[in-house]
């Protein structure tokens, strides 16, 4: 029984620098990295390789000491050149110098009809060993799924409404059979698999072909593409429930693992943002070094490199690496400048959700694209304004009260107000529009950690 859900609340951030819909030829980056920071809830990261070791794509290189069945594998074959640690020996990156020809660890191959006969245990085993498992994320908490759980449903959002988000239709072109196989596999873990598509665009056949899954349509501004919002409207998470989410790239990786017998970490990445000369797509592997994407491709040099999008991404160095889930590199200007009377000057150019005196961007047409830098446009303040977070959160959730409950470390209240239903990305817009400039996402993660570990 598929559903159509129209959302009205939300806000589309329309930025300059959308990627042109073509995959450019380029020289592959030399190094790739696995960053534990891509995941939440790795409690005791244990590196399985030393500098100088050679690995194949699919060789386990990192495990969580707390749950050693979940293995993180090398995305490419090559030599481990650096295990980078930060303060207190915190593991930051495992860097691999890639081979020209990628060699793969071999896993059993199946035909599409064979997959039907595989047992859940077999699938689980292969997924865990191959390093593909971390694609499966568990709600609540947004952590890597626990293999022993029986999720009540599995959700896949096939569109991304974040600013400058890549187009999954392009990224997943000709991956139909892998996607289909991936859904088959996921079906073994839960009979309720939901594929949510964008009602406002033409739906790629990749998603409609999959059998044994419920196809739901969502319409509306960002965050309608967020899987958390979709879960809330289709099969909400209550206390004690476990729901899994996988992004479409993860689904194809799962499919490929079983059809081709390898962990294929190749992915298409969109290089976007107002400071990029030619924003377009590149085909590379998970965890790519970004140097090759930005070489001779920037309009200015005082910029911020963001792995992911501007709402939920992470600042990375100019020679940093993309994260495990990143399909996007965004480059925007740094905003470390003073502005004379910046708080009162009228402007059409400053993007704002609000319409306070002088913020005239609402008069522009909806198609206008903005250049937005990283300036905070104001200082931290106490909560004053009310009712705005609710306008960008298309869920029956009271974000202000939830955030206050977290700050007060009130467990009952957090649970009652629905902390299990959200992760950072679902409240990222609140953080963007916040007049008082709170770090909503960081606060929410503190709350999730409190709920999870205490």
């Amino acid at each position: 029984m598929s559903k159509f859900i129209k959302l009205r609340k939300g806000f589309d951030i329309n930025l300059v620098g959308k990627a042109e819909k073509k995959i450019a030829d380029f020289e592959q980056p030399e190094t790739f990295a696995l960053k534990p920071s891509s995941f939440h809830g790795i409690q005791r990261p244990k590196v399985l390789v030393k500098e100088g070791d050679t690995v194949k794509a699919g060789t386990p290189i990192l495990i969580d000491g707390k749950n050693d069945r979940i293995q993180h594998a090398a995305p490419v074959s090559g030599e481990i050149v650096e295990v980078k640690r930060g303060e207190k020996r915190k593991l930051l990156e495992i860097v691999i110098l890639a081979d020209k020809e990628i060699e793969y660890v071999e896993f059993p191959k199946h035909s599409i009809s064979d997959i039907n006969n595989l047992s859940r245990e077999d699938c689980q085993q292969t997924l865990l060993q191959s390093g593909v498992w971390p694609n499966i994320i568990q709600r609540p908490y947004g952590i890597i799924a626990n293999p022993d759980d029986e999720p009540k449903s599995i959700f896949i959002s096939t569109f991304d409404t974040h600013p400058l988000a890549p187009d999954f239709d392009l990224i997943l072109k000709d991956q139909d059979k892998y996607f289909e196989a991936g859904i088959e596999i996921l079906n073994k873990f839960s009979e309720h698999v939901h594929i949510n598509v964008n009602a406002d665009a033409e739906v790629s056949p990749v998603f409609t072909k999959a059998k044994n899954a419920q196809l739901n349509k969502f319409s509306g501004p960002h965050p309608s593409g967020n899987v958390g919002v979709q879960i809330h409207h289709i099969d909400p998470i209550n206390k004690g429930d476990v729901v899994w989410t996988v992004n479409p790239i993860g689904v194809t990786q799962i499919g490929k693992l079983f059809l081709e017998g390898k962990y294929d970490a190749s992915r298409v990445v969109a290089v976007t943002g107002s400071e990029v000369k030619t924003p377009q797509y590149y085909k590379t592997f998970t965890g790519a070094n970004i140097k090759k994407f930005v070489q001779d491709n920037l309009k200015s040099d005082h910029v911020r490199y963001i792995g992911g999008n501007v709402l939920t991404g992470e600042k990375i160095a100019s020679d940093g690496y993309l994260g495990f889930f990143d399909n996007q590199l965004t480059i925007v200007p740094e905003g470390d400048y003073h502005e004379l009377f910046g708080w009162i000057m009228p402007s059409f150019k400053k993007l704002s959700f609000h319409r306070a005196i002088g913020l005239l961007s609402f008069l522009n047409s909806g198609n206008k694209e903005y250049v937005v830098d990283t300036n905070t446009h104001g200082e931290d303040r106490a909560f004053v304004q009310s009712g705005t977070f609710e306008r960008v959160t298309p869920m029956d959730i009271l974000p202000t009260h939830l955030i206050k409950a977290i700050l007060a470390e009130d467990f009952d209240e957090m649970e009652g107000l629905g902390i299990y239903e959200v992760i950072e990305e679902d409240l990222a817009l609140c953080e963007f529009i916040d007049v008082s400039k709170h770090d909503i996402q960081a606060i929410l993660r503190e709350g999730l950690d409190l709920m999870q570990y205490s």
């Binding site: 005196i357 913020l359 905070t376 004053v384 629905g418 007049v435």
Partner: protein
Amino acid sequence: MKFLRDFFDKQKPHFEKGGKYEKFYYIFEAHETLLFTPKSTTKSRGVQIRDAVDMKRMMITVIVAMIPCLLFGMYNVGHQHFIALGQEAAFIDKFWIGLLKVVPILVVSYATGLGVEFTFATIRRHPVNEGFLVTGMLIPLVLPPTIPLWQVALATIFAVILGKEAFGGTGMNILNVALTARAFLYFAYPSQISGEVWTYIGDGTAVSGYSGATPLALGADAVANGTNMMESMSSFGQDWAADIFSFSNLFFGFMPGSIGETSALMCLVGALILIFTGVGSWKVIVSVFAGAFGAGLLMNAIGANSFMDLPAHYHLVIGGMAFGAVFMATDPVTAAQTEMGKWIYGFMIGILTVIIRVLNPAYPEGIMLAILFMNVFAPLIDFYIVQANKKRRLQRAAV
């Protein structure tokens, strides 16, 4: 403007940690950020870009919305002054008299309030909040033009310390700060803020038969002495200011009263600004008016005395009703914070205002007490709205 920037950059080290004026950092910061927005950038995790709005811009929007009330108030102070003296005067003369009376009150309110803010920011080491920019303007607008300046100062200090800083500063206060100031004066110095204090007469002598009563006072009189309120309104000031309490005069605001509150029209202009910019909640404004109108109709239905018989729409334009609904009830910190709660909160303010006015004429200005009362109850309203949200979540689990 480069020299200004250089000046700040040069002074900054003195105020930063280890500098000789380290204690006064937040005072320095308040001045610096008034001129220049800070160059801070977003953190490495979380949102990488931020909305262009900030608290200063939100607050300045409220101030802009109050300017029509302020300007009209200045004019009206002069206007009432010359009516009381029985003289004709040019527009500019009226405005000038008003300016001379209002500006000192405004200056005293801002100076003492900001003084307290800066002191607390220094002692408690927190940034100076923009909230007082609004409060500092609200306080003069709800006071009569004849108020002694020392009372303005005292009330401002009282309100900022006990109404706000005692609770932890802007964002934490339970009561509307400006109304706390007014309530303080009302109970501490009733003779300067009730009775016939609303018109500035100065050294001149009032015309014969002059009375400084307000419509609300006539209403109280109607209840106490059984006079007919509508009749006394229409016959009021026949000899020296005919029709002063006609409905159109009440709506446009050519009547005695607190500096900023007399003109319902100017309040509506302010309301439009607040609603259009989204800074003030339209739900609160609309529901206050709706509540008052509804309660007015209810009083009509009871009709025990002539104040009760006052047509309901009069309630919306007399006293501080419109001003309170637009600028006081909408204070986001002290109002209800849930959307459903805002309807209830506003509606209750409207109803209570009319009830206090009509049934308890000892306090003619009902809206002040009604808002303060509902400020106290706003958290309770929110509590039930939040409970309902939690309950929906639990029921969903049970199904």
